[in-house]
């Protein structure tokens, strides 16, 4: 087990080195990155000056090593727009993004399980057909359009829920300000509903389909037939014999799900004016604030890799067969 964790840890480190290299070299895609920092009418001398000041006149590998060694210490340079360290700005926005991702995950998993299980047990019923139609639609609807429609109908027409902004939950929770949290949690939850649903619907649809098909497969297995033949109650067969095994493929994709939701939230945050890293990164791109862009991209990648590592280790602990493959 320890050996396995160490190996996975080493792999994650290699991945992070790769990601940092990618995030850094993206700047060079258009040739000389100096042009990203000057305006169209700059003179050649001015451009050369900026190039030297930003260190772009050094060899590529020196620049990367410099970048990486600073990045490890959380130093991504100063944001040109905010005049603060880029990493601090990203960290400030991170709780909002994590909060949204967790709610999206909740939507994607909690609703998918009963829908998928019931659809499989009542195969070919109206419920099954309806759920699968809904799932098909859910996988075809663009999340940003769903968000806009929710704003239009639930927010503007019905005036039922807030359509933008956020009331923090994670920050007071970790600061231990429970009294304040208690006072605002209702409002915070209301602000989370529309973005959370928008973020989770695609995965919810995918998971419902996945759980249904894996339940159907398991329900056709010999040991389920045996259980039925022994006279075990149907509800017990479904929940105890079939459901547990049907969950295995679902758990497998949950690690990847986080990354998927995390990147999907870049769009959701922009629709609902959610003050997270996704909104920040798009804003930074439009402002050509590339230090913030790099800091955001690498921070999100670290969160993603960390979560994957955690899920993998947890999964191995649950199902020891994987360690040896």
């Amino acid at each position: 087990m320890v050996k396995y964790i160490l190996r996975r840890l080493a792999q994650s480190l290699i991945v992070l080195v790769g990601v940092s290299l990618l995030a850094f070299s993206v700047l060079f895609l258009s040739g000389d990155p100096t042009y990203l920092y000057v305006n169209e009418h700059a003179s050649n001398e001015a451009i050369a000056q900026v190039r030297h000041k930003l260190g772009f006149d050094r060899p590529f590998h020196i620049q990367y090593l410099d970048f990486a060694s600073r990045a490890i210490r959380g130093d991504f340079g100063i944001s040109m727009r905010y005049g603060q360290p880029a990493f601090d700005i990203v960290l400030e926005r991170l709780p909002a993004t994590i909060e949204l991702t967790l709610v999206g995950m909740f939507v994607a998993v909690i609703f998918a399980i009963p829908l998928g299980v019931i659809a499989a047990v009542r195969r070919n019923s109206i419920f099954d057909g309806g759920t699968m139609l809904f799932a098909m639609l859910g996988q075809s609807i663009p999340d940003f359009w769903l968000g806009i429609m929710l704003i239009l109908i639930v927010g503007v027409q019905w005036k039922a829920l807030p359509i933008s902004g956020r009331v923090p939950i994670l920050e007071p929770l970790f600061a231990g300000e429970f009294a304040q949290l208690g006072a605002t949690i209702g409002d915070a939850a209301r602000h989370l509903i529309l973005p959370g649903v928008t973020s989770g619907v695609w995965s919810l649809s995918r998971n419902a389909r996945l759980i249904r098909s894996s339940m159907l497969e398991v329900l056709g297995m010999d040991y389920v037939t045996t259980a039925r033949a022994k006279g075990v109650r149907e509800s017990l067969v479904v929940l105890k014999h079939a459901f547990k095994n049907a969950l295995i493929p679902v758990v497998t994709i949950i690690g990847l799900e986080f990354g998927f939701l995390l990147s999907g939230d870049i769009i959701v945050e922009n629709i609902f004016a959610w003050p997270g890293v996704g909104r920040l990164v798009i804003f930074a791109i439009n402002q050509k604030d590339f230090n913030v862009v790099q800091a955001s991209v690498i921070t999100l990648a670290v969160v993603f890799v960390g979560l994957n590592l955690f899920v993998d280790v947890l999964y191995t602990w649950l199902d020891p067969r994987i360690r040896y493959t």
Binding site: V19, L27, L29, Y35, I148, M149, I266, N270, V293, N308
Partner: protein, 296 residues
């Protein structure tokens, strides 16, 4: 095979529906010049914000209404099919070509070649693909001011390449796993004994066996790429503003949501959803068709 395909397709209703819609979209894209009632970029300020013809206050001059600049929504919608389809299909071709080639090579040769290719794949998987596209496009977009005038397709190339390169990993993994399972099979052994070249073994003996799952994967991937293009255009990153796109139309609609201008937000979204749904339906059918367990 083709005959069986035709019969299976005719037996199922949903994929027929999907195929019909997709064909219609393709016709619209190819014939946009002749079909669309107006120039999609024609600004008629006096006609601004007409609702669709079927709604109150609508005019039959603009069936689906007009936007803030008085541009005809139907015409923009029709021209939008070009970008969606072009990017959707071409990015998948790019992703498939890179992914399948690398996957076949990794699976067939094994050893350090396999290690290197699959580690690169891992790195890319750890980089959420929209994030990768965003960072690449951001840099390319920032440079845009320095470029001279170029054609629509040329403007789309960065987006197509970005979406293609961002998605090769799944193809590589699938092609590799099929190759691994076939490498030691008798027919490959026989081809090797007959003195076939490595390239011939890979492309003539192994690849045809991997084709079915790859086609299924590609069909779903076209759908998800169209969604991704729309999302990037929505964020203002995908396609330059002068080219009408569904995602771009949606993005422009947002400011007017609260003032009750519903058609600008509803119509392009429906177009995206119906197109993606039809491709997904076809993909679903292809998957069932190629799955021998479901064959009776």
């Amino acid at each position: 095979m083709l005959d069986r395909m035709r019969r299976s397709l005719l037996a199922a209703k949903f994929p027929i529906f999907g195929l019909a819609i997709l064909l219609m979209v393709i016709v619209l894209a190819l014939g946009a010049k002749w079909i669309s009632p107006y120039d999609p970029n024609l600004v008629q300020v006096e006609d601004r914000l007409f609702p669709p013809a079927f709604a109150e206050g609508g005019s039959s001059a603009h069936w689906l209404g007009t936007d803030t600049l008085g541009r005809d929504v139907l015409s923009r919608l029709i021209y939008g099919t070009q970008v969606s389809l072009m990017v959707g299909f071409m990015a998948v071709i790019v992703a498939g070509t890179i992914g399948v080639s690398l996957g076949l090579i990794a699976g067939f040769f094994g050893g350090w070649i396999d290690d290197v290719i699959m580690r690169v794949a891992d790195i890319q998987l750890a980089f959420p693909f929209i994030l990768l596209s965003i960072s690449v496009l951001a840099v390319l977009q920032a440079r845009r001011g320095f470029e001279a005038n170029i054609t629509t397709l040329q403007r789309l190339i960065p987006l197509i390449l970005t979406l293609g390169v961002a998605q090769w990993v799944t193809y590589a993994r699938m092609a590799r796993s099929v190759t691994l399972s076939l490498r030691e099979k008798e027919f490959v052994e026989a081809a090797r004994a007959m003195g076939d070249s490595k390239a011939s073994i890979i492309f003539r003996h192994i690849m045809p066996n991997a084709l079915a799952p790859l086609i299924v994967l590609a069909s779903f991937n076209v759908a998800s790429t169209i969604l991704a293009e729309a999302a990037l255009s929505f964020l203002g990153l995908g396609v330059p503003p002068a080219i009408p796109t569904w995602g771009g139309m949606l993005s422009e609609s947002r400011e007017l949501l609260v003032s009750g201008v519903w058609w600008l937000a509803t119509i392009p979204g429906l177009a995206i959803m119906i197109t993606v749904l039809s491709i997904n339906l076809i993909g679903d059918w292809l998957r069932d068709f190629f799955d021998p367990r479901l064959r009776n």
